[in-house]
Amino acid sequence: MEIGKRIAAVAVAGALFVGACGGSGSSAPPSVAGPGSVAPGSVGAGGNCVAGSIIAGGSTALQPLVDAAQKAYTTGCTGTTISVQPGGSGTGLTQVLSGGFQIGNSDIFAEEKLQPADASQLVDHQVVRQGWVMVTHKGVTGVTTLTSDQATQIWTGAVTNWKDVGGPDLPIVLIIRPASSGTRATFKRIVLGGKNEAAGTALTEDSNGAVQTAVSTTPGATSVVGFTFYQSNTATLNALQLDGVTASVDNMGNGTYKLQAIGHMYTKGAADGLSKALTDYMLSPTVQNGLVKTMFYAPIGTGPAATPPVVVGPSSPAPASPSPS
């Protein structure tokens, strides 16, 4: 078994190496810079560093913003560590509930995912508006906009060729997220009116990277990605308007672009310490007028009012204010 043992040793070493890389990539290193080393204006905490170590994790749509914000906040602070982890909205909600994360990032309201008794333990901090955009393979020419009805026909499998919506004679390849994803739930609720996607003829990919690769390499492919992600891949993806409205931060802010949702940061009970400092910082003008705009999110103060959607089911929680529609 000599060769077998040696191979096993190499495999273990490889796994450890990858594990170590993955670990360091997903957690933020503690800042070591002294308070005096930072130029005025870029000091996130404004000199009032709250010491501590927290994990804010969940939604991958919200992750880039939270990560950028925590970097800005912890610059110049010693003893402050904020680690931002991906995993999905469901992970954010369940982990903050179980105490694994101090802040759970989510694209959806806790009431949509958790049992009412569990959801009521969480405190919602609505920090930003985030938008999603329908994208296609570069070869899908001539289609620049879809109405909600057309999108519904495509996503439910009623229309299977681009020529039926003004495009080339090319079969449509649907690329969807897993049924449990926050992105898919949001799209299904807002655009599809709750109808089921044609999962039996679609491809399923769960990460932004996998979706981008799949759409850019598969002729006729279409999918839904976050604004931030589309903006960094404009060379390989075509964006579609929804009901004639361009997917832009301005249109999201004024409410005309409807494929958008609130970015939530949930804490278990009221936020305190560093969790409170971070959620407050997310709402500060520094982030709302700075990072939010440069990263293609919209400030939370603009756009339509945010209330939990009515949850279908026997035990619908009562939202604080009446739900629209």
Partner: protein
Amino acid sequence: MAATATIERGPIDRVMTVRERIDPARRITLMASAIVLLLVLLLLVFIGLNGVQIFTSSGIPFAAVFNTQWLPGDQFVPGEVSFGIFPFIAGTLGVMFVAALMATPLSVGLAIYMAEVAPRWARSITQPSMEVFVGIPSVVWGWLGITILVPFLSHNLAGIGFSLGFSWFAGSLVLALMILPTITSIAYDAITSVPAEMRGASVALGTTRWQTIRHVVIPAALGGIATAVVLGMMRAAGEALAVQMVIGNRPVMPTSLTQPLTTLTAQITLDMGNTVGGTPWNQVLWTMGLVLLLISFGFVLLVRRLSRSRQVP
């Protein structure tokens, strides 16, 4: 008298010394086995208990889980929501068997070459290459698959049905490359453990090298080679990441090598982060894990049977 007593005590002392040397070793090894055994048992109980929760605590009927329709929902609505796991089981088995079909001829051939044919210098190249092969992480295989293999299939072989690229074939090919070193190294060990006397006797009868390999070495090592293939298939069944990246994850029963499908591991990875513990949707993922464990048990039993038949007279 005193001298005699010393002599009598001498051997006893030496026996005691040897025992003292053995006992810690026995204790350590016994403890290690007990810990591993306990871990395996706990794992079994844990996965077993979680795997049946969907039936016991959520009260979902068997028919809603053991069918071919994957239409999950946060709440179970009969007729509308279905947690059918057959597509995942069929996908796992299908991807695995085709991968084994692809990898076995290549890796057994390579093992025979390394053990019987290769000159020393060639072995000094192939052996480290195999080790490097094993060290390639599965995410890298998946990445290569999605950036090279999938576009290649959809661009060049669309005519024979690979219009998407993401397919059963792509998943099996990536897996075949991943299990190649596993099968090769175990088959190599099996072949080198065939006694040299058997080869010598064969050559003495005037056979060629090929005749010796074909009629003596391979039959003698067959049990070991079969074990190697089964262990490779076990690795294939458990692999998640690389496969998930290239199979398209379409929750339907597999129909064609050119079409997307899904596997147990791929679906568990896709859904585990986004489902809430205690819901039927989350519990069915545990059931899938249990099924995967049972599949791997089947293979362990198979390997044990094959190892028993390894000693060919």
